[in-house]
Amino acid sequence: MVNRLILLKDTYFYYFRNYYRSRSFYLMFFLSVIVSILLIYLSFRYLNDLSTFATRAGIKFLGGNQNELLLGYLWSFILSSLPVFASVFFGSPAISSEIETKTAFHIFTLPIPRIILLTGKFLASISVTFVIVLTYSLIEIGVFQYLFGILVIQLFYSILLTFLFVISISAVTFMISSIFNKNTYAYITVLITYLLVFYAATIIIELLFKTVPYYLLNQASSITYRVFINLSFGITLTSSSPVPAGIHSIISNALIMFLYFLVAMGITVILFERKEVK
């Protein structure tokens, strides 16, 4: 057991070094900083106009810390896209590239269980995504501290839920990547699944059954910004409420994301164990 943990630690750092030195990481990091700068500008320039914008969008506020919640909603709405793109950058080629670039000949032949290789790589992949999310979140916290002097608890819920979303979407991406032997197919499938399939399914289910498909990952992940204001932009806007999502909603959505992680990782382990390089 101790030996396996040491192997996992070595494998984790092996992959982490390769990830954080990659161009993908720096590109992603750079883009997230650019987005942060744009939001800093928005926060300082339009803070007093936020309630007007909200009214124009048909949201009636009850007052109180409405500006902070609305600004938190905007920052977190953007933040929720980061894990999606980070998982495309780091997760899509995670397994398929081992086959396509033939690094599998190097790692599959080592006396190390494949589950440790997979776990080490998965942890490394989510770690670099955490670095990006954390940088963005620290900037967000800094801006809120400066503007409001006090930080609402929703800010921390949102960041923690985003970390959970990183874990679940990375697992789904690893699963898709383990199906393919070519990176391009993995990239395309991940993007189509998340940006088309999930959203198409949401719209169809909303239209046909007049209910929000809360069990889809894109819906569950919306909790990362719904902790500020419980607004979810579907075709019928069925779940709209200008108050923060309740604790029950937070827990149930967190569980759904965790379930996605468990199922996706389970399938990935099975596929990775059977993977071969012709």
């Binding site: 070595d10 092996y14 390769n18 033939k102 000949f105 190097h106 599959f108 006396p111 071969e276």
Partner: protein
């Protein structure tokens, strides 16, 4: 002691049978070379032996442990080099070798000394600290061999280790492998399609074709043979009186075994003296002879 055993090993890729009921035993200290044309099944056997590919039926065991059942234990005494492996491009040679050493059981102290030994033995000092993404093919091949040799494994499984190297690099690799086998008594299983390489390294050769083992033979390095092409078939029985035996004769083409003390040009003189018109003649070895028989 049997180090590697393949029993009734088969592998299908869809309808293609890459290996058919393949049987093999490799003894401790052997240097077994697997020869065969492209697509013969030699790489498939080595990939199954190193857990890169799973068998459709049968198994490979290494030191009594089946690779498909307990790959971690089976591969613990193996240094593998399969095809030309790629490495993670943002890691340098030292980091890659350190990781391989750690996985093979090295502790903190041994890792650096082992990396130093491998770097110097494989002449990688100049480039080992560069990121592997910047390596040339030859550099990658050196790093791959270094990974295989890390922690001095008892068995080396090498799939075309000299492929893509320049002649100097090939010679160096052959010398390293020969030293490992002869001086350190390491068991080597190596695939190649170069007969000269097999002749230089092997003590035993198997020739595979169409997924089947066709020939298994000892490498008789000292036997001199010659292939002679004649303008017209003639009576060559006079050669036997000079202790030159005819191994194979196909009308205008014959293969003869040359006695140790006789030079090749003496054979030619003998033929000409007896009125045989020689179109061309070339020295060959027994491996080449068998290989051509199998492939043709």
């Amino acid at each position: 002691m049997i180090e590697i055993e393949a029993s009734n090993l088969s592998k299908h890729y869809g309808k293609l049978e890459a290996l058919k009921h393949f049987e093999l035993k490799v003894n401790s200290g052997d240097c077994l070379v697997i020869l065969g044309p492209n697509g013969a099944g030699k790489s498939t056997f080595l990939k199954i032996s190193t857990n890169v590919v799973h068998p459709s039926s049968g198994y490979v065991s290494i030191r009594g442990t089946r690779v498909d059942e307990d790959p971690m234990r089976a591969l613990s005494s193996v240094g593998p080099l399969i095809e030309l492996p790629e490495f993670y491009p943002y890691l340098n040679g030292v980091e890659i070798l350190s990781y391989v050493c750690k996985v093979k059981g090295a502790n903190r102290e041994t890792v650096s000394s082992e990396v130093e030994r491998l770097t110097s033995e494989l002449k990688m000092t100049e480039f080992v600290k560069r990121k592997s993404g910047q390596y040339s093919r030859g550099m990658k091949q050196r790093l791959a061999l270094a990974c295989a040799m890390a922690m001095d494994p008892e068995i080396l499984i090498l799939d075309e280790p000299t492929f893509g190297l320049d002649p100097k690099g090939m010679k160096e690799f052959v010398n390293i492998i020969t030293d490992l086998n002869k001086k350190k008594r390491r068991t080597v299983v190596l695939s190649t399609h170069l007969i000269s390489e097999a002749r230089e390294i092997a003590n035993r050769v198997i020739i595979v074709n169409n997924g089947e083992k066709k020939v298994e033979m000892l490498n008789d390095r000292d036997t001199k043979m010659m292939k002679i092409s004649l303008y017209s078939p003639g009576d060559l029985t006079f050669l036997e009186s000079e202790n030159v035996s005819i191994i194979e004769g196909k009308e205008e083409e014959v293969t003869v075994k040359v006695p140790d003390k006789m030079e090749n040009d003496q054979i030619l003189s003998l033929l000409i003296k007896n009125g045989i018109r020689v179109k061309w003649a070339e020295p060959i070895n027994s491996i080449e002879q068998k290989y051509l028989e199998v492939v043709e």
